[in-house]
């Protein structure tokens, strides 16, 4: 008999809501420690230059300046996957906005004033702005010492003496032969510009160098344990001597994964005699100093039979990593093993190159390369459908992965993967795919519909793990300790639901400690990849079971009943069928005391853990292997309206279907979908870095980098959440947080073809680009 769920699957309100609506939630931005210093940075005005000299003498003499640091003397190489990053530029600057000097002072004003007194002389070098140029043999090297860097061996393949930080290959079947023999062939190229995450809280960190080479950090980060690990590796310290706190985090979207400002804050504190040092990125620095999403040049070749079966697909992905590729390499890898879309393709060839250029560097961003790759793939699918004279939905249906197919890395597709076909059908039906758009009233406007598929799996090391601790309180409540970070997704609320469900106590009695603290909270790799609810959820289930085992063990002695004959409900343990003979958890949480005063048991602390299961490294030559703990599939359909005189585009409707496996909290899940869709809309229509010919970023502020406002959302959105359970997922759930953003640009691009008969290949689809293409078309016809 399945027990009816009380909390899981219910629209429970956020655990953190009251703190956030009252302004009580404390973010790293809000943190103030006694004696804390503030930091200002001198940034490189060049995209590429040799540092000839740095004169910090005048700055050091300013009253209130406590530390002035340059890259000299900071001979550290940092990185998670590829240690290519330094704390401050050494000898050369590799991007416009790279920090060259950091000054910690009593106030931010003093630090800023001192920065203006620093004199840096540069010798400008030619800058590499296009990764395709950077791949040329003759290109200058952004990292001449790449061959000496440490990196995760067997997973990444930096090419010595080149600008290629990683080359991921996927080889399945015989592409050349299949392509040659195919009935219909198509080649198309696409481009995504670099964009920014734009968390509302910019990056911030406070660090204190403590006596005995210990470090204490407070940071706006997705990755408390990864920050701890990388700092301990970098500075050669025992892990326990690095303590990382993560208070409330004002948005991350991938940009706060791995290391950020923490090492800089630490070396400043060390130089300032152990005073705590705060580093807060200005909004401009968030754009041009901290990492962004990589740009991508894609070329896609598809071949099909006359009846619309894809027989071969080849993609070349050239990622614009920018000046550092520590995180970018993993995007190049992950987007390659997903790089043919959710389709069954027997003959596949993918080359994914992560290439250094002289631009602000890339990192993880919600979707982890998939929005970029699927911009090309899902546009190409529509192009191919037209070439075949097939309906784009029919064409996709014919090729979507089905039970019995294998993915491009050789993974067998099963019913446990979820159902991409159902997602496609759901969004097609909801948008009334077969019915053309109603003509708009105004004669200069046109409408169109588009559709696109999406998929993604968590991109993480094969050994990724996490742990959860549950402490039972004397009132029968539970304290849950985790080190995944809830920076808005709602995972803590979901974990709380699962804990209440599993411990059989009211949800009000489950408390999740909000601030992560590596001194107390158990290990979690980092909060990325839409994996926290999945892995944390499983760990919570195990931790709760551990608590219940302990409860039953003690209660068995108290009640003189075998543990297996006890059951738990409503915070009480009792012999099966005799709830009246129960003992409340509150009498067991710290140990049970008999009437005569004798006591047994002791504080109940449950422990649960989860480690990725069965993943393998990919074969270096073929990319074959099992990279994915689970896949999440989905689809979007959109209807757009275009003003053909100004190029303005309006989104009338976006329908999203995702196979969530199990919706753990519909309110939060819908929140993730709507938020992701609108963030995807930003990438589709407005967002993108603009550089001048020297590589200077021209739009590092909200004045000229526009993200959607409340006036820019679709007239309507619809969310369809499917529940084909994930084997091994908590209650059958799989991750969904990143996915809604993926393929929003592709669906809109496809709808623009329907509306205008124009094939767009470059993002963003801003008014100017749309109008330019409309006029080109008018002139050529």
């Amino acid at each position: 008999m399945t027990r009816e769920l009380k909390y899981v699957g219910k629209p429970i309100a956020r655990a953190d809501a009251v703190d956030k609506v009252t302004g009580a939630a404390q973010y790293t931005h809000d943190l103030c420690l006694h004696g804390m210093l503030h930091t200002a940075l001198v940034l490189s005005p060049h995209a590429s230059a040799r540092i000839v000299s740095i004169d910090i003498e005048k700055a050091e003499q300013v009253q209130g300046v406590r530390a002035v640091l340059t890259g000299n003397g900071l001979c550290y190489q940092l990185g998670l996957y590829l240690q290519d990053k330094c704390i401050l530029a050494r000898d050369i600057v590799r991007y416009h906005g790279e920090p060259v000097v950091a000054i910690a002072a009593d106030t931010l004003d003093i630090a800023n004033a001192a920065c203006r007194l620093v004199e840096v002389q540069y010798e400008a070098l030619p800058s590499l702005l296009d990764p395709r140029d950077a791949m040329e043999e003759s290109a200058h090297l952004v990292h001449p010492d790449l061959h000496t860097y440490n990196y995760m061996k067997g997973v990444f393949f930096p090419k010595a003496h080149s600008n290629i930080a990683h080359h991921q290959k996927i080889r399945k079947g015989d592409f050349d032969r299949a392509f040659e023999k195919a009935d219909i062939r198509l080649t198309a190229s696409f481009y995504n510009p670099p964009v920014q995450h734009v968390p509302m809280e910019t990056h911030a960190a406070v660090a204190q160098a403590l006596p005995g080479n210990r470090i204490e950090i407070w940071t706006s980060s997705q990755s408390p344990y990864t920050v701890r690990h990388l700092l301990s590796v970098c500075f050669g310290l025992p892990h326990a001597d690095v303590r990382v706190h993560v208070p409330y985090v004002g948005g991350g979207f991938g940009g706060k994964a791995g290391l950020g400002l923490e090492p800089l804050a630490y070396v400043l504190s060390r130089a300032a005699g152990g005073r705590p040092v705060k580093v807060v990125a200005t909004r401009e620095q968030e754009f041009n100093t901290l990492p962004s999403r990589q740009g991508l040049h894609s070329t896609i070749e598809i071949a099909t039979s006359n009846d619309g079966k894809i027989v071969a697909l080849k993609s070349t992905y050239i990622w614009d990593a920018g000046a550092y590729a520590d995180y970018g390499v993993n995007i190049g890898r992950s987007a390659a093993y997903s790089g043919a879309g959710p389709y069954s393709i027997d003959n596949c060839w993918i080359d994914s190159y992560v290439v250094y250029t002289n631009k602000v560097f890339g990192t993880a961003f919600r979707g982890f390369g998939h929005l970029e790759v699927l911009w090309g793939i899902e546009r190409a699918m529509d192009l191919m459908a037209r070439k075949l004279g097939m309906d784009p939905v029919e064409f996709r249906k014919r090729n979507l992965l089905k039970e019995g197919d294998t993915t491009i890395t050789g993974e067998a597709f099963t019913s446990g993967h979820g159902n991409p076909q159902q997602c496609l059908e759901a969004v097609a039906e909801a948008i009334e795919w077969r019915t053309p758009s109603a003509p708009p009233i105004e004669p200069h406007k046109v409408r169109g519909k588009g559709i696109a598929m999406l998929h993604k799996a968590p991109a993480m090391p094969t050994s990724t793990s996490c742990a959860v601790v549950i402490k039972l309180d004397e009132d029968g409540g539970a304290d849950v300790l985790v080190s995944g970070v809830d920076y808005g997704q709602g995972t803590y609320t979901v974990l709380r639901q699962i804990a209440a469900e599993e411990l059989r106590i009211p949800i009000e009695k489950v408390h999740i400690t909000w601030e992560c603290d590596t001194a107390f909270s158990p290990y979690d790799w980092q909060t990325v990849a839409s994996r926290f609810a999945y892995m944390g959820g499983n760990a919570i289930i195990e931790a709760a079971a551990d608590c219940l085992d302990q409860i039953r063990f003690v209660a068995a002695q108290a009640l003189d009943v075998a543990p297996e004959d006890l059951e738990c409900e409503h915070g009480t343990v009792y012999p099966k069928g005799h709830p009246d003979r129960g003992i409340p958890y509150s009498q067991l949480a710290l140990g049970y005391t008999f009437e005569n005063g004798n006591s047994i048991g002791g504080p109940i602390i449950g422990h649960g853990r989860f480690i990725a299961k069965g993943l393998t490294h990919l074969d270096p030559d073929t990319g074959q292997g099992l990279p994915a703990q689970f896949w999440t599939y989905g689809a979007h359909s959109v209807e757009v309206e275009v003003d053909t005189e100004t190029g303005e585009i309006e989104i009338l409707n976006i329908v999203s279907a995702l196979d969530a496996g199990k919706v753990l909290n519909p309110k939060l899940c819908v929140g993730q979908v709507v938020g992701g869709v609108v963030q995807g809309l930003g990438s589709a229509l407005w967002e993108g870095f603009v550089f001048d010919e020297k590589g200077r970023l021209l739009n590092p502020a909200f004045v000229d980098y526009k993200i959607p406002t409340a006036k820019d959302i679709p007239h309507r959105t619809q969310q369809i959440l499917l529940e084909n359970p994930q084997p091994g997922g908590p209650y059958g759930a799989r991750g969904v947080a990143e996915h809604p953003m993926i393929s929003i640009p592709s669906a809109i691009g496809n709808a623009l073809y329907d509306a205008l008969g124009i094939e767009f290949t470059t993002l963003p689809l801003n008014y100017e680009r749309i109008l330019t293409r409309i006029r080109e078309k008018a002139e050529s016809s």
Binding site: T107, L108, D109, E645, T646, G647, L685, W686, V690, L698, N699, V703, D704, K706, P708, T709, A710, K711, D712, N766, Y767, E768, L771, T772, R775
Partner: protein, 282 residues
Amino acid sequence: MLGNFEYKRIRSIEEGCQYLAEAAGDGAVLAGGTDLLVEIRNGLKSPQLLVDCKGLDVLNVFSVDDSRSTIGASVALNQLIEHRVFRTTHPALADALASIGTYQLRNRATLVGNICNASPAADAAPVLLVLDAVVEVAGVEGPRTVPVRSFFAGVKKTTLKPDEIVTAIALPARSGLRTAFRKQQRIRGHDLAVVNAAGAYSPAKKVLKLAIGSCAPTPVLLDPIEVDSKDNEAFADHVIETVLRAVSPISDVRASAGYRNAVLPILVKRILHELLFEGSGA
């Protein structure tokens, strides 16, 4: 903290002019501050003295009627936009003001500030130009008036002297004018104009005035155009040709010259449509 300056809240306009005269070009008038404080923060301006005129009741008032409207220098945009009589008397100006910045910003920003900032993209400027607005100015040497068409001297430059304070904008009698404002942004949310334009049409005199923003170093007022209502399309083509001859848009991070040149005729056409071809406008 922003820059390094002194702050004076003045008790009279004369006192303000005196302070500005003493600052000899290093002073700035602080009204809403929504442009000035950003420029100070970004290091684009570094005045030594800010003269805050918002304490003066005389600058905090506006009067609107059919014969003449006067808008004091401290009147916030939302006071005007949310004023029913102002909105019906000056609908195009209200539209232009409502397109500036965010709601919060419009609770601080002022009409006078919008033109004193002298951005080529100032949204109020084209409307004020076609309405023949007059800038009322006080200085050490006494008050004077400047027609808005003589007010802008270049990008972020006006014809004001260092000691002068704009006290108000005066709008002459409407005398049956129909007016319209159009703005092209990059996004529906708050944005600077890629191109903006305003038109005023006098059905009695059969004369059309047009002004264009964001397409030259200053907002551009075209010579009055005699309206020939026989052939709307030919007239529109003629007007658009005249407009394109009068402007010199550049390419920048906001838009290419090509896009500005492509959108400007559309805005003009839509203005003509509203003012001339669609029966009676407001």
